[in-house]
């Protein structure tokens, strides 16, 4: 251990268990308020019903909180878990962790997935999940030492404020010469002073001899972390191998891992080239299809978008084969070496920037009207080290800029900041203000929903207009895809459990570009299957990129190419070989349905989870302003005449806007009906008792919850 000064608040020793078929068989609960530890067994029912990862997190959180619990109450917990396949060092994308908590943005349960080493290392140290509740005075560091079987809660002074530097310092302190064995979770000052704080999960980059970080960005879990007085979570593990998970059938595991790895290695260089450019290739594809959010989701295209394309960032990235977990052949975790910020505490100093990925480029770049890649890098860097989610930062800032552009707010409200779209200096100032909890940055840092309420209450803004252009649902800011022309993706966002994040369903191309699901039945079927299968990855400790961002060479010849069934078969073999539960690809849907519906019920428990919460702002459905309508007038006029039989020739733009809106809102409601029916939910969006029983999640408190909402069948 290094020389950083610390005071031990509590400690305990434990016996490190042998893992069995992907499970350590126990979870660790830490109460910061009483400085107490508790080791709890993982039951067979937990494994069969919740599988692991997000499922375990949800179960622990469900039992930790009441329906009245607020995000900053001591009983709220930050839960972290990987999953039974998490930590497999030979299968691509097997190092994910899922974090859950009650969100400051939504007031309900939030989940966020992240790479880095923490979740797998935690399991190898002996725990399938970690649950941290209670509150401390600040500066607390939890250290789980999987080499010696000891847990310490420490108070440490003098640690760096910013997350990157903190990860580096703690990795050195606890790792010594074995820094690869350490992973750190931390947030930062921006997480403390906004509602959309993120968590950085570290991993040690041996080639560059520095810690790297991946972000659990969505929903403000970093804010909860800071509010608890946590400075960092640190785990250290021993050496590990493919045997560490003690898989049920190692030969079968090796076979499917080899087959999937071969596909990635052979096909990624031919397809998306993520090992060279990460997800940056998406930017120009989105722009060409009118799907890249620009100027607060007004439009989907911009002539300067090429400045943010893959060709630019591939030149900036430090070359290397950069995976965020061992054995991942996708290797998409790129970064920029020697970047020199123009502003803030690191002004003029060379830094390493982890990223950017597509979401950051679109969020802090095109959506705010910034098309300078170096500014995107600078915002990316400061968001990360301050512990701020780049997606919510981008969408919330874009909303503030839209309000500035529309005259809803002016220089008086922004404290003199000119928030015109594209003003990079103002955006950077706003970001530094957020980290300090000062100025107009502190206002934007509370999120779009808070800004809408404030601007109406304090500045007399038109509530209906702000509802139309404020890109949030359930309190969470939209991630960075335009959905105006894809009804299915409107559902993909609006009907998602935690809010508008694309990790549940990304159906834009299937729907809008290829028109492969023209009917409500087809859309609803896909809004069942895709969210379920995507949920499954989060239960197992897996990244979904190897599934369908790289597809087998013969994929187009399969019956349903979108499902990439060739890879789904490998995943079923992977699950079977590790856990010993023999499954088919269809079984994976059922595995996920249990957890998916449980999360919906969790929302209900917290006072949400009904149809009223599944609404989305109109700008996600269609043109919210005359300007937007007229920018794509031919498209909209044609829809009015061809699809709805309306003669638009005698109508002015405002009348056409109203007519189109009526039709599109009607479509969204019909889609909602169809999806609820397919998922086995009531017309109000609540899982029926029949559904709950079919899935085996009819626990007494669940049945009681349903009955309290009049659901008895």
């Amino acid at each position: 251990m290094g020389t950083l000064q610390h005071t031990e608040l509590a400690s305990m020793s434990y016996e490190i268990p042998e893992l069995d078929k992907g499970y350590a068989g126990q979870t660790l609960k830490v109460d910061l308020g009483s400085a107490a530890f508790e080791i709890k067994p993982v039951t067979q029912d937990m494994k069969e019903t919740f599988t692991g990862g997000k499922g375990f997190d949800l179960w622990l959180l469900w039992n930790a909180v009441r329906g009245e619990t607020k995000w900053n109450d001591p009983e709220n917990a930050v839960c972290i878990s990987s999953g039974p396949m998490g930590g497999t060092p030979i299968y691509p994308g097997s190092g994910k962790s899922i974090v859950t908590s009650i969100s400051p943005l939504t007031g309900s349960v939030m989940d966020s997935n992240v790479g880095g080493y923490f979740g797998p290392y935690l399991k190898f140290a002996g725990f399938d999940a970690l649950e941290v509740s209670g509150k401390a005075d600040g500066g607390n560091v939890l250290f789980v030492d999987g080499e010696t079987g000891s847990i310490q809660l420490l108070h440490m002074d003098g640690l760096p404020e910013e997350s990157y530097a903190l990860s580096e310092a703690l990795t050195e302190h606890f790792g010594g010469k074995d820094r690869k064995k350490v992973s750190v979770v931390s947030a930062g000052p921006g997480a403390k002073n906004t509602f959309f704080g993120c968590l950085n999960f570290s991993y040690y980059d041996g080639k560059r001899r520095q810690t790297r970080n991946k972000q659990a960005g969505r929903g403000g879990i970093g804010t909860v972390f800071e509010d608890k007085g946590l400075k960092a979570l640190v785990v250290k593990c021993t050496s590990f191998s493919v045997d560490s998970n003690n898989p049920a059938d190692k030969d079968a595991l090796k076979a499917c891992a080899k087959a999937h790895t071969r596909n990635i290695v052979e096909l990624d260089p031919k397809q998306n080239q993520m090992s060279q450019g990460g997800t940056t290739f998406i930017t120009m594809i989105m722009n060409d299809h009118d799907l890249l959010p620009t100027h607060n989701f007004r439009y989907g295209q911009h002539p300067e978008a090429k400045n943010l394309g893959a060709e630019v960032f591939r030149r900036l990235f430090d070359p290397g084969f950069d995976g965020c977990w061992y054995g991942c052949s996708v290797a998409c975790a790129h970064g920029v070496k020697g970047f020199v910020p123009n502003t803030g505490p690191y002004r003029g100093r060379q830094v390493f920037v982890d990223g950017p990925e597509y979401e950051t480029i679109a969020g802090v770049g095109s959506n705010t009207g910034i098309f300078d890649p170096y500014t995107v890098l600078e915002i990316n860097f400061y968001c990360d080290i301050y512990g701020i989610d780049t997606i919510s930062f981008g969408t919330a800032t874009a909303f503030a800029m839209d309000c500035f552009d529309s005259g809803v707010i002016g220089l008086q409200q922004t404290g003199g900041l000119d928030l015109s779209f594209g003003n990079r200096w103002s955006v950077l100032t706003l970001l530094h203000q957020m980290a300090a909890g000062e100025g107009f940055g502190a206002v934007v840092g509370r999120g779009v929903r808070h800004m809408k309420e404030l601007f109406v209450r304090e500045y007399g803004a038109d509530a209906k207009f702000l509802q139309d252009i404020g890109m949030e649902s359930k309190g969470l800011e939209f991630s960075e895809y335009m959905t105006k022309e894809s009804l299915a993706q409107q559902g993909g966002y609006g009907l998602a459990l935690k809010g508008p994040q694309h990790d549940e369903a990304w159906l834009i191309f299937l729907d809008q570009v290829h028109n492969l699901m023209p009917t409500f039945e087809q859309k609803s079927e896909n809004l069942h299957w895709f969210p379920m299968i995507r949920t499954w990855f989060g239960l197992c400790g897996l990244c979904k990129l190897p599934w369908n961002d790289i597809v087998p060479a013969d994929n187009s010849e399969t019956e349903e190419p979108a499902k990439v069934i060739g890879h789904m078969k490998l995943y079923a073999e992977y699950f079977s070989s590790v856990t010993g539960r023999q499954v088919t690809p269809d079984d994976l849907v059922l595995i996920s349905e249990k957890v998916y519906n449980f999360q919906r019920l969790f929302n209900l428990k917290m006072g949400y989870g009904r149809r009223a919460q599944d609404q989305i702002p109109y700008r996600a459905m269609g043109p919210a302003t005359v300007l937007e309508y007229e920018s794509r007038q031919d498209r909209y006029d044609q829809e009015l005449s061809d699809k709805y039989g309306l003669d638009a020739s005698g109508m002015d733009t405002r009348a056409k806007l109203t007519a189109l809106r009526e039709k599109r809102e009607e479509q969204y409601e019909k889609l909602t009906d169809a999806v609820y029916a397919r998922r086995g939910w009531t017309p109000d969006g609540i899982p029926t008792l029949t559904t709950v029983k079919r899935l085996g999640i009819d626990y007494p408190d669940v049945v009681e919850l349903l009955a309290a909402h009049g659901v008895t069948e």
Binding site: I285, V513, N548, A553, A562
Partner: protein, 65 residues
């Protein structure tokens, strides 16, 4: 000569991505084509030339994100 998904195809002067897809009789979804190091989206298939010697791969891009 060019290659399309590792198969050789005769090239002609002025060939565009649209020409290429017609020439190979491509059926089914194809939103993006990679021509050498550049990803070309469907709205640009008509206007994008394919140079002689190009290495081309078809990318369905149907369920990413």
């Amino acid at each position: 000569m060019i290659t399309v998904d590792d198969q050789e195809l005769e090239w002609f002067e002025g060939m565009t991505v649209t020409d290429l897809l017609e020439r190979i009789g491509h059926q089914g979804p194809c939103a993006v084509v990679r021509v050498n190091e550049t990803h070309v989206s469907r709205p640009r298939f008509d206007e994008t030339p394919v140079p002689d010697g190009a290495e081309v791969y078809l990318i369905p891009m149907i369920a990413g994100g």
